[in-house]
Symmetry: C2
Subunit: 357 residues, 2 copies
């Protein structure tokens, strides 16, 4: 049985000291530091920006019960994922990671050890991608747990990837595969339900092994800096990360760029295990890709010679549609070849119909 | 009766559009923008850092029921205060304001109009101090409301105000007055209790007029850029903003600087109205200053010639103690002249004994 220390026994200051030890341990050495002048422990962090580059700033909030369920998310995974989601925003701008600030609102059920695991997971992601946690703010919460992370990055001005730069005639592409994170979430939610319904809690054996790949897509997303760097190299200008599903995120590119676009359903890249999960639930796996979200792949527009140059470099991208004039609107071409309006759904936390699941 | 639009009727995207209109309205013009290349509406904001300056990054979380009570905090005030608290961190580093990112977790009771007021208050503070909101993330919440704001600023490297730069022999000073925010909170909490106990809700008249000054200290704190700029000018190196009370924040300077310090109780600068509130509750007003927090004044260490140079400029500072060797620890000198250990209390959200009230 792991030990469980109530945060009130060490206090906010004691907690911060313990978390600081994790962040500043030697294992975190690979993160950038030569430009960091003041880290954790002052009113603000202070760093020297790299000369001539533009500064990126982003933030994402993660709310218990909305973005994560502690019944099937370990704190190690949660720490990884919250950092990875912010890193994905930096990658989708064509940027390199900088510094992160973590704010936490913690209900009394959260122990010091849980927070240490959260920070270990966060540090792991930081170390893997070259980011550093330089501060934060920790508070109690009377309700659910919330994590908000703000992150900086930098990019060569003029080479940044933007939502508003797509042009008619370009192809619409996505990296990797889509819908996997949602397939993983479907399995985890089902196993939670089976667990709660089983009654015999001690004897319950979750059946997760066949779904390891998609569960990992949900719990341990990997920001695609490899893809983004190649996009910048070949001169791509318009990109977004797929955090809310291909439908929502393609719509964001279209609205920001004042263009229309077409998405070909049969071309959406899906893992075999994503198809298997959808089949099990008698659902359409294309909907996982369109509306599931949290894949953290990169959706972008590129002229056709750019597609070849990316494939030539071995970058795993798929053409899924094209950019058209704004007057043609947003079109989805179904597997049956029918042309329909691209559904406006996507992951919207406030809408009852916001999620395909 | 003001209109009340449920956020689900406009959705996350619709809400963001309405908030964006407030942020980008012409009235917000005075905020810096020439260096802002991408604002709200992309994966990250992009700006050009001012050449040769260090970048500051800070964040603060505000949790309903912990940091604010919607029973007596308007959304306009809440928006102001959340921005002001972050600005205060930038000021306390000797910096100039930059850009802010707002993340929100909103329970279903929060309407679109409430959020618009929150953003109007936030924009007001941004406009007054030269900051700009450049992005955010908005989510539903199943529990309480949470706001987390991250902010950048910049400072001349080598002139930043730090917690770790206090030296024995320097005087300990604070700007303005302390304990007023806590006095205001005491009154607001009392009026809420009276309201709930009155039963006759429609006929209830809160009695706030005599306490306007301290209530404003609680609801509309003003970051002390005026003081911080003067400190930088006269060569002060060690400072912190008073967010958790003089006792906690003086302790942070002592620990970071590896020094001891002495605080003279009778010298703590208090408003007459703060004394009046404490008298009403039969409490010690010095405790409001020591443990109340949220005054957002600046606590700093300075050589004695610096004190004169600051007074000469008309800066409202008070000498409240001095920095001593670490081996002498932290001492509080009571109004009766007794020397006691500086109490370790302060505003700690996780400790039952964390607040003097």
């Amino acid at each position: 049985m792991p030990s469980s220390t109530h945060i009130s026994t060490v206090g906010e200051f004691g907690l911060v000291d313990r978390l600081r030890e994790i962040i500043e341990s030697p294992a975190a050495d690979s993160a950038p530091s030569s430009d960091l002048l003041i880290g954790i422990g002052d009113d603000a962090a202070l760093f020297r920006p790299r000369a001539g580059r533009g500064l990126l700033l982003t933030a994402d909030a993660f709310v218990e019960g909305i973005h994560f369920d502690l019944a099937y998310t370990s704190f190690l995974h949660l720490g990884w994922k919250t950092i990875a989601a912010n890193l994905s925003d930096i990658a989708a701008m064509g940027g390199e990671p900088g510094y992160a600030i973590v704010t936490l609102a913690l209900p009394s059920k959260i122990s010091v050890e849980m927070m240490e695991d959260l920070y270990r997971g966060a540090r792991h992601a930081c170390t893997d991608y070259g980011c550093r946690i330089v501060g934060g703010d920790t508070s109690a919460s009377l309700g659910n747990m919330m994590i908000s992370i703000a992150m900086t990055g930098d990019v060569e001005i003029g080479k940044e990837l933007r939502r508003d730069a797509a042009r008619p005639g370009e192809l619409l592409c996505v990296s990797g595969t889509c819908g996997g994170a949602h397939a993983g979430l479907r399995i985890l939610a089902r196993e939670k339900r089976r667990f709660l319904e089983s009654g015999a809690r001690d004897g319950f054996q979750p059946n997760l092994e066949p779904y390891k790949e998609v569960i990992e897509r949900h719990l341990v997303p990997r920001p695609r800096f490899d893809v983004a760097r190649a996009l910048v190299d070949v001169g791509v200008r318009a990109a977004i990360d797929v955090s809310d599903g291909v439908a929502s995120d393609a719509r964001r590119i279209a609205e920001a760029s004042h263009v229309g676009l077409e998405v070909v359903g049969s071309s959406l890249p899906l893992l075999a295990s994503t198809r298997a999960v959808a089949a099990k639930f008698a659902e359409n796996p294309a909907e996982y890709a369109l509306f599931g979200g949290e894949d953290y792949e990169i959706l972008f527009a590129v002229a056709d010679d750019g597609v070849y140059r990316l494939l030539e470099r071995g970058i795993d991208i798929t053409v899924i549609g094209r950019i058209v004039d704004a007057k043609n609107g947003l079109t989805f071409i179904t597997t049956e070849g029918e042309r329909v309006a691209l559904p406006p759904r996507g992951w919207d936390h406030f809408m009852a119909t916001g999620n395909a699941s």
